[in-house]
């Protein structure tokens, strides 16, 4: 092996497993050796994790045993062979910083969760807000509506952006909103317009999360929904329409998605894995000790 720490991050999400292998100097100057994503699709999670991990290792041409540290993130119980676990906010923050060094906040939207994270220039989480137990601002909502409208996920963003007339969705609840959608279809509204309505409704909720978390400056949109440019466009649009009180201007936000955005968690985990490995080593503990310790 050449110089540096080769480490892996595994992001076990509720809809997909994402893996990244990096080479870095204790987390600094990381270079992505490979990434892999597999949707779970009703398969056994453990199997998908293993398969995605093997795929990523093969692509990076590394043997799993040569990795100095494997960090899992997302679902704690999904990866039984990880050296240690890091939590989603920590890894998304760090991952986002890798491909967007200016970012000082992260908006991570996955299938069943959404969180807004404020961080410093090293990716340390300073504040956050998240949704819980309600699907009204998450990817699953978009998926359901898309399925209802017969639109493949990949087309959702394009259609929404092309829309010219928006239709507001009034229900807070993702289920009751479907009824709104039925109404819209009946009034002959176009698929794109409806999707945009849904995007706007979600975007409104996400923006409130960002504000509540105290985000300021560049915001990296991460998670699966970062791939949905329709949503990102709506977020920007709402941002432009926000009304500030004259005396108290709201912090300026600059929302950006990146092609690597959906992989932010895995990237962050891989980088921090190397950092943690080094940290423990310097404290005179080996990584295998970390396995025992952090499992206990």
């Amino acid at each position: 092996m050449s110089t540096g720490h080769v480490s892996a991050g595994i992001d076990a999400g509720s809809s997909a497993i994402k893996v990244c292998v990096t080479r870095s100097q204790a987390g600094a100057g990381a270079e992505i050796l490979s990434t892999a994503v597999q949707r779970i699709r009703r398969r056994n999670i453990g199997d998908v994790v293993r398969a995605t991990f093997d795929e990523a290792c093969a692509a990076a041409r590394v043997e799993p045993r040569d990795l100095c540290y494997v960090a899992s993130t997302g679902d704690v119980d999904a990866v039984d062979f990880a050296t240690g676990h890091l939590y989603g906010m920590t890894t998304h923050a760090r991952g986002a910083l890798h491909f967007m060094p200016d970012a000082r906040a992260v908006l991570d939207v996955g299938a069943l969760h959404a969180r807004a994270i404020r961080m410093d220039d090293r990716g340390k989480v300073l504040g956050h807000r998240m949704t819980s137990q309600c699907a009204s601002g998450t990817g699953q909502f978009v998926e359901n509506i898309a399925r209802y409208l017969g639109v493949p996920l990949e087309d959702v963003g394009r259609l929404s952006i092309a829309s010219t007339e928006v239709e507001e969705v009034s229900s807070v609840c993702a289920v009751l909103a479907e009824t709104d959608v039925i109404n819209m279809v009946s009034r002959g509204l176009g698929t794109g317009d409806i999707l945009r309505g849904i995007h706007l409704s979600i975007a409104g909720r996400l923006l409130r999360l960002l504000r509540a978390a105290g985000a300021d400056g560049v915001v990296a949109v991460t998670g699966g929904l970062a791939a949905d440019d329709g949503l990102v466009a709506c977020l920007r649009e709402l941002l432009g329409k926000e009304k500030a009180k004259p005396k108290k201007p709201l912090p300026k936000l600059d929302l950006r998605a990146h092609p690597l955005s959906p992989l932010a968690g895995a990237i962050g985990a891989a980088i921090l894995a190397a950092y943690r490995h080094d940290q423990l080593e310097r404290r005179g503990r080996t990584a295998s000790a970390a396995v025992a310790m952090e499992a206990g």
Binding site: M89, T90, K124, H128, M130, Q133, Y275
Partner: protein
């Protein structure tokens, strides 16, 4: 692995999970005619009850063990969970060994629950304990003494023994022994948290809700003896103080989930009533023990949310606790819709921020079963402290 404390912990767990209060039933069988008096959290003068021959029973709600059906019919969705499960337990008949219930003045929910109790169970004794918010001995103190006399009198009318100062003095001594034992337990957690984890202390202290004081003290001592024999070593965890002015208790699984996410809880206010008074209740020479009991409340009561702080500085006490226990940060864990805790929180947070103590907050309910969100949050908190070391603790 042979855990020397396994047996005593198992006993504590059985006591905590004993919904049907079999220890209380047994106690009543061996004390014919005596009353078992339940009380809601947080604080009631338990020694007073013992002194008049009653068994005080702490009612900590139904936890996650029961499905709430009828209990829900009395409470709107925006009210915390403990009153629902308490009503449910009563309607299921699980509280039948209880002859009466005291509702201390912690918040409007408990207060009104007292009124509901009278309407739902007119045959049982129920009263509100109006703890004083004036801390001058001859105003609030005098009122509290009268309040305690009233309760003693009303219970005597229902078969309790008349209040006798000597017996009250003894009960207070027993209570002091218990407090000393709990203090020892807390000290062990602070100094060697791998010998006594928060989830264990939670069980041990809570078990006291259905035990006579002396038995409870013995239980804790037994555990302490075992725990000191435990092997083990420090874990790479973050030290936190967990606050929330609990009345509704978090499910044990939540405490475990927090531990699993890398947070070592070295101080908390679970079952706050058992720790409400700092230090022993002192009876001055020739003093009426009832006055001593009242005085202890006025002077040594913790500055928790249900007490008016008067001229004290909000949050100063919490900062002191963090420093004393050398904690890295504070977790606020309030029951959803818990007014006292949630109204206090911004003030406490401000104090912590000022003192440079990192903190994070979340809400729970006693019957929650999904901890993923909380785990993420506590995990991110512990990650930050871990990865960025001491600096993580002082932003």
């Amino acid at each position: 692995m042979n855990d020397p404390a396994a047996a005593v912990l198992e006993r504590a767990r059985a006591l905590v999970e004993d919904r049907k209060l079999s220890t209380v039933t047994r106690w009543k069988e061996s004390h014919p005619g005596a009353l078992a008096i339940g009380h809601m959290p947080v604080y009631v003068p338990r020694p007073l009850l013992e002194a008049i021959g009653c068994m005080p029973v702490a009612l900590f709600g139904g936890g996650d063990a029961i499905d709430i059906i009828r209990g829900d019919s009395y409470f709107q969705s925006y009210i915390c969970h403990i009153p629902r499960s308490t009503v449910e337990l009563a309607l299921l008949g699980d509280l039948s060994p209880i002859d009466g219930v005291l509702f201390p003045s912690i918040c409007d929910v408990i207060r009104n629950l007292g009124g509901m109790w009278r309407m739902l169970f007119p045959e049982k004794y129920a009263t509100y304990v109006d703890l004083p918010q004036s801390f001058e001995p001859d105003i609030g103190g005098a009122f509290y003494v009268l309040e305690m006399r009233r309760i003693a009198r009303e219970l005597a009318e229902r078969g309790a023994r008349p209040l006798d100062p000597a017996r009250l003095g003894e009960a207070i001594l027993r209570e002091n022994e218990r407090r000393a034992a709990i203090a020892e337990l807390d000290a062990l957690r602070r100094e060697a948290s791998w010998r006594c984890r928060a989830s264990e202390a939670y069980l041990l202290v809570r078990a006291g809700g259905v035990l006579e004081t002396r038995e409870h003290t013995a239980l804790i001592h037994e555990f302490l003896a075992c725990a000191r024999r435990r092997s083990g070593r420090p874990v790479d965890n973050v030290r936190v103080v967990l606050v929330g002015s609990f009345c509704e208790q978090p499910p044990l699984e939540l405490v475990r989930a927090l531990e699993k996410s890398g947070c070592e809880i070295i101080d908390d206010d679970f079952q706050l009533g058992m720790r409400m008074i700092d230090g022993p209740i002192e009876i001055a020479e020739g003093e009426d023990p009832l006055v001593a009991l009242s005085r202890a409340y006025l002077e040594k009561g913790r500055d928790t949310a249900s007490r008016y702080i008067g001229d004290l500085v909000k949050g100063a006490g919490l900062v002191r606790r963090v420093r004393e226990s050398q904690a890295d940060g504070v977790l606020f864990a309030a029951a959803s819709f818990c007014d006292p805790a949630l109204l206090d929180q911004p003030m406490l947070e401000a104090a912590l921020t000022k003192a440079g103590v990192p903190h994070t907050s979340f809400k729970f309910s006693e019957n929650m079963g999904q901890f993923s969100v909380i785990r993420e949050q506590a995990g991110a908190f512990s990650d930050a402290v871990k990865l960025w070391g001491a600096e993580g603790a002082a932003p």
